[in-house]
């Protein structure tokens, strides 16, 4: 279908964009931020979304790019595309953050990844989206600009539910910061068709002891089992036991994750099916993370 009519605004600079959002929101004009548009335009074509105003931030080149700061934290500008991350050279995106690069192959298809943006995906907050899962797994911080100034929101406080975030209607996500390296992390998922949104997605970040074989801790995050991406403390407790990496440990971790979650049932899969997927995918993610 064709999208419903709206008023188009092209932002020239960040302050102009936030001023406009504040102004439109004050008039209850229902503005929506347009970045790459790979989720929003599809929803508008379906008329699932009918914003009265679109603020196109696509020209704000200051929001594009990848850099590492003096503390070793990786900064991704909100308008950085999935494909830019996928193709980022090692000097921009080193081994410690390779999980981000490798996860991009799960994001839609190439023509979606060339236009879709990191910030757009996070702000859209699909419960199975790769960026939402990665941000949750790796304690990312989301940098937000708005009428109230600039603030940093931890991922754990950013996602609130289905397509719902802590972003105010007059706020703009400008950057996501991954504060630390995760050299032994992996994301994997299952979708009924290649490139679709995942039915369940799993991501694991292992902490290995100096011997390279003992798992001394780690994080486990799942998408598609709740209204937002979730960490699974029960599965993380298994990783914290100090066992040797291997089939027994990873199977126990997967089992703990499956028992801990209470997934929804819908067309893509029943709760029981999703629980079995969670178990299988956590085991796979553990194996891939350890193999790094």
């Amino acid at each position: 279908m064709k999208p419903a009519p709206f008023t188009y605004h092209r932002a020239r600079d960040l302050d102009g964009a936030t001023r406009l959002l504040v102004e439109l929101e004050a008039r209850e004009e229902d503005p929506k931020v347009l970045a790459g548009g790979q989720s929003l335009v599809a929803m508008m074509n379906f008329r699932l979304a009918r914003p009265a105003h679109l603020v196109d931030i696509g020209r704000l080149d200051c929001l594009r790019g990848i850099h590492t700061d003096a503390d070793g934290a990786l900064h991704l500008g909100a308008l950085t595309t999935h494909h830019q991350v996928e193709r980022a050279p090692a000097e921009l995106l080193g081994r410690g953050h390779a999980v981000l690069r490798d996860a991009m192959r799960w994001v839609g298809h190439l023509p979606i990844r060339t236009r879709g943006t990191v910030g757009g995906s996070l702000a859209h907050a699909d419960a199975t989206a790769e960026w939402c899962l990665l941000a949750t797994l790796l304690d990312a911080e989301l940098v937000v600009h708005g009428g109230g100034g600039r603030r940093r929101v931890p991922a754990a406080e950013f996602f609130l539910g289905y397509y719902t975030t802590a972003l105010g209607a007059d706020e703009l996500l400008t950057e996501v910061v991954f504060p630390r390296e995760a050299p032994h992390a992996a994301l994997t998922e299952f979708a009924q068709r290649h490139g679709d949104f995942a039915t369940v997605a799993a991501a694991v970040d292992l902490e290995l002891a100096a011997d390279g074989r003992t798992v001394c801790g780690g994080r486990v995050a799942l998408g598609g089992v709740a209204a937002l991406p979730v960490r699974v403390p029960e599965a993380e407790a298994v990783l914290a036991r100090g066992d040797t990496a291997g089939d027994a440990l990873f199977a126990a971790c997967g089992q703990a994750a499956a028992e801990a979650v209470d997934p929804p049932s819908d067309d893509a899969g029943s709760a029981g099916y999703r629980r079995r997927l969670a178990r299988t995918l956590v085991v796979q993610a553990c194996e891939e993370a350890f193999a790094r």
Binding site: A42, R59, G195
Partner: protein, 181 residues
Amino acid sequence: MSQITHEPPDRQLLTLEVNGEAHEVLVESRRTLVDVLRHDLGLTGTHVGCEHGICGACTVLIDGAPARACLTFAAQAEGSAVETVESLDGGGGGSAPGRRLSDLQQAFTEHHALQCGFCTPGFLMLAEGHLAEQPAPSREEIREVVAANLCRCTGYQTIVDAIEDCAARRRAATSEEGPCN
């Protein structure tokens, strides 16, 4: 009785660079790039399938990268170089009957990589975009890339064959020319 008011639709005066030519169009803001290409510029080679980014029939190049023209508002493409299937040219002059197929189009023909042809413009632009970035793709990479678009006739094998063959011929042509010629 409440008064019905019709606000005039929000419009944009856009300059779009399509296939190397600048076009000025005055269109509703909600007009997608694919509709501007087809309805305002008459470039009907780009097809419209699903209008929600699944089928890939509308794939064009935006600044050299394959993109869904149905998931891009025309206003977003202003300032970018758009290339459609009409840009593919094997020589022979303009749009005259003498114009030849491009090497990629020729490879699609030779390998029977199309039957009904509806999806073909999208596949061609997808392949052009990928080969520009990766001139020596593995068969597995080509399979991964063409998974982006739907074809209900061929079963994909022949499309993969055509792209692989075209890439190999381009590489052979480049190495024959040599870096110093």
